[in-house]
């Protein structure tokens, strides 16, 4: 996993609440057995006018010019600004894979669905929770200023505008933060406690042998 320390990027506003993982990456693309290549199909049903199927050449597909990511001013965006309950629904990790593959490194919303939130951290995609008011303010700013950028400093747990005028603090659990800052392989971290797991397991299976 790529470490996340400081990131500056263009912000794209997705002004909808309850964006579900079916919308982030529709099911026909889940047939892949790989982790990569989902970017061209991120938000497929909103981004294109035709029906998306695996294996199409995205450059030949008709685009929905109304969809925000198709607006030239958000080209190259790496921070997605969203509304509440982003990532609800299916547990598919293909959703954060698609967001990353497209080029997003961080998401900002008033709330995220639990499984999705978890999946983001496992992939080096930082989901940031800010208050409804702060998110609202950012939506206004993004829409008002073409090329609006934000800088995210994970270590300092802050988001600020490039002129430094506005800064927002965010919360992140210390354990997740460390993993992301250092790009840790959390399986390796867990396996460092293999003896404890083994001891727990042995005792458990002895006490509840029907679990074996």
């Amino acid at each position: 996993m790529e470490p996340f320390r400081i990131h500056t990027g263009i912000v794209a506003p997705l002004d909808r609440a309850n964006v579900d993982t079916d919308a982030i990456i529709p099911k026909q693309f889940l047939k892949s057995i790989k982790r990569s290549g989902f970017g061209p199909n991120l938000f497929d049903e909103w981004r294109y006018l035709d029906r998306g199927e695996p294996g199409q050449d995205p450059s030949t597909r008709p685009r929905n010019s109304d969809f925000v990511l198709n607006h030239p001013r958000y080209h190259g965006a790496s921070i997605l600004l969203a509304r509440r309950n982003f990532g609800c629904g299916s547990s598919r990790e293909h959703a954060p894979w698609a967001l990353l593959d497209y080029g997003f490194r961080a998401l900002i919303a008033p709330s995220f669905a639990d499984i999705f939130y978890n999946n983001c951290f496992k992939n080096g995609l930082l989901p940031i929770v800010l208050s409804e008011n702060d998110v609202d303010r950012l939506f206004h700013a993004v829409k008002a200023f073409p090329g609006f950028r934000l800088t995210i400093d994970l270590d300092a747990q802050s988001v600020h505008t490039s002129d430094g005028q506005h800064a927002y603090r965010f919360h992140v659990e210390p354990f997740r933060k460390q993993c992301l800052l250092h790009g840790h392989d959390d399986i390796a971290l867990t396996l460092a406690h293999a003896d404890e797991i083994r001891a727990f397991e042995t005792k458990r299976l002895a006490e509840q042998p029907w679990l074996a």
Partner: protein, 469 residues
């Protein structure tokens, strides 16, 4: 000792160790695996040169991507076939407690076969790369969905790093009216607390309405805990739980059964246990539910009308409602009973068990689907459910009424195979998600109970099943 909730008991008994910030390393007893969310995890394991920690914890099946007809022809979509074959190869390589592959007569939806085979037991932690893993909480198990990285983590370490959730009690008391089911109850709850109402919580369903539900009904409730935003839903053990489990192929027997059952009877919240949040529901007042929008919380009763966004004060909610109505092709204030449908789907891990099929069949005996219904599908949840239904003659009832009787699988719940809605088609569905495009790009889904779906197939529009009782 302090009074503890069922969730406390389940969580605390699986903590291997605590990390500094109250993140816990939680031991996983049962790992359910299916073809869509596991290939990248097995590959990750291989690339890192790791072995599965305890392959005997794995119970696997192919369900999401498998066809529901013409099984003799195999899986014709090459990409789907590769995914199913990859699962075959992975399970062959690492082993499993049980594997129900494509074409096996015990194959089925992972959340149907877990309980049915006795792979899901009270007191367990159960995980699966699938959000509807919450279903298994009906057996007083701590069951929740995980992503693919976590699937790999469980394969490699038998553990997960997780934080304890807050606890929510949803108490339903009162007798459900005839024709009103667990599905209506859970939809009514989601309508009330919203799809984010349970975010950050583990929900326990309790009260005498829940106690009176069959295990099938309890699974339907816990299944949709995720639609209320909660990763886990659960229900305490009682004699009905034990009766359901006893004699299942993977359940303990003899002396081991007695020991297990004695322990399982302790799996309930202690009197006086406190919850972070409690909701109470008067179940007697719940009417049959129908969703009208593109989120499970956009739900009303069969006696209502499609809501009018003009009456909504909150701007962002109004926009959301308007977008949903446009997508659904509905006018505000339309009577729900005036909504005509094109297709009907009876199936999914929410409502594809034997009791669901019986309830649906009871609505159509001696009747026929309406002319405007182009397709009515019944997809049993598993091979054993299908066999049981056929033994009871339900397949004939459905076929005679014009329904198609299919092979088990997820089917049109998520439309990864050929079963799907075409753009603009409207469906009465017993599944759990009515998101845009869920049942096919441009498809319009109305979530209902099996009885409501069957009655709608016959009428060609939604009808109040209470009138038919």
């Amino acid at each position: 000792m302090d009074s503890r909730t069922l969730y406390d008991k389940l969580f605390d008994s699986h903590v291997v160790r605590h990390e500094a910030d109250d993140t816990a390393l939680l031991y996983i007893d049962r790992h359910l695996v299916h073809e869509v969310t596991s290939p990248q995890a097995f590959e990750g394991l291989r690339l890192a040169g790791r072995k599965p920690w305890r392959a005997q914890s794995i119970v696997a099946t192919a369900d999401h991507n498998t066809p529901t007809k013409d099984w003799a022809l195999g899986i014709r979509d090459p990409v789907s076939r590769t995914q199913v074959e990859t699962l075959d190869a992975n399970i062959r390589a690492v082993g499993a407690k049980a594997y129900f592959p494509f074409l096996d007569r015990r194959q089925g939806i992972v959340h149907v076969i877990g309980p049915e085979s006795g792979a899901t037991l009270p007191g367990m932690t159960v995980v699966c790369g699938d959000s509807h893993t919450s279903t298994h909480g009906a057996f007083a198990a701590l069951a929740f969905g995980i992503g693919t990285s976590e699937v790999e983590h469980v394969l490699a370490t038998q553990c997960l790093l997780t934080k304890k959730a807050k606890s929510m009690l949803i108490r339903a008391d009162g007798k459900l009216a005839p024709g009103v089911t667990a599905k209506d109850l859970i939809l009514a709850i989601i309508g009330r607390i919203g799809t984010a109402g349970g975010t950050g919580y583990a929900i326990e369903f309790a009260g005498d309405t829940v106690r009176a539900l069959s295990m099938e009904g309890r699974m339907t409730m816990c299944n949709m805990a995720i639609e209320a935003g909660a990763r886990a839903g659960m229900i305490a053990v009682d004699e009905r739980t034990l009766n359901y489990i006893q004699g299942r192929p993977l359940a303990p027997a003899g002396e081991l059964w007695d020991r297990a059952a004695a322990y399982w009877r302790t799996l309930m919240s202690d009197p006086g246990a406190t919850f972070d949040l409690t909701h109470t529901i008067d179940a007697a007042s719940v009417r049959p539910q129908v969703t009208w929008g593109t989120s499970p919380e956009m739900v009303v009763s069969i006696e209502d009308r499609v809501p009018d966004p003009d009456r909504e004060r909150d701007q962002s909610r109004r926009d959301w409602m308007e977008r949903a109505l446009t997508y659904m092709g509905l006018e505000p204030n339309t009577l729900i009973t005036d909504i005509r449908i094109d297709k009907v789907f009876i199936g999914s891990c929410t409502n594809s068990r034997i009791e669901d099929l019986r309830q649906a069949a009871a609505m159509i005996r001696g009747r026929h689907i309406a002319d405007n219904v182009k397709l009515a599908l019944v997809v049993p949840g598993s091979g054993p459910v299908k066999a049981q239904a056929e033994a009871e003659g339900l397949d004939r009832v459905f076929r005679d009424a014009g329904f198609e009787w299919r092979e088990p699988g997820c089917s049109m719940c998520l439309a990864m195979n050929d079963d799907r809605l075409e753009p603009g088609e409207r469906c009465a569905s017993t599944s759990n998600r009515n998101f845009e495009g869920r049942q096919g790009a441009g498809g319009r889904t109305h979530l209902v109970s099996p009885a409501m779906a069957a009655a709608a197939a016959v009428a060609g529009r939604f009808v109040d099943v209470r009138r038919l009782f």
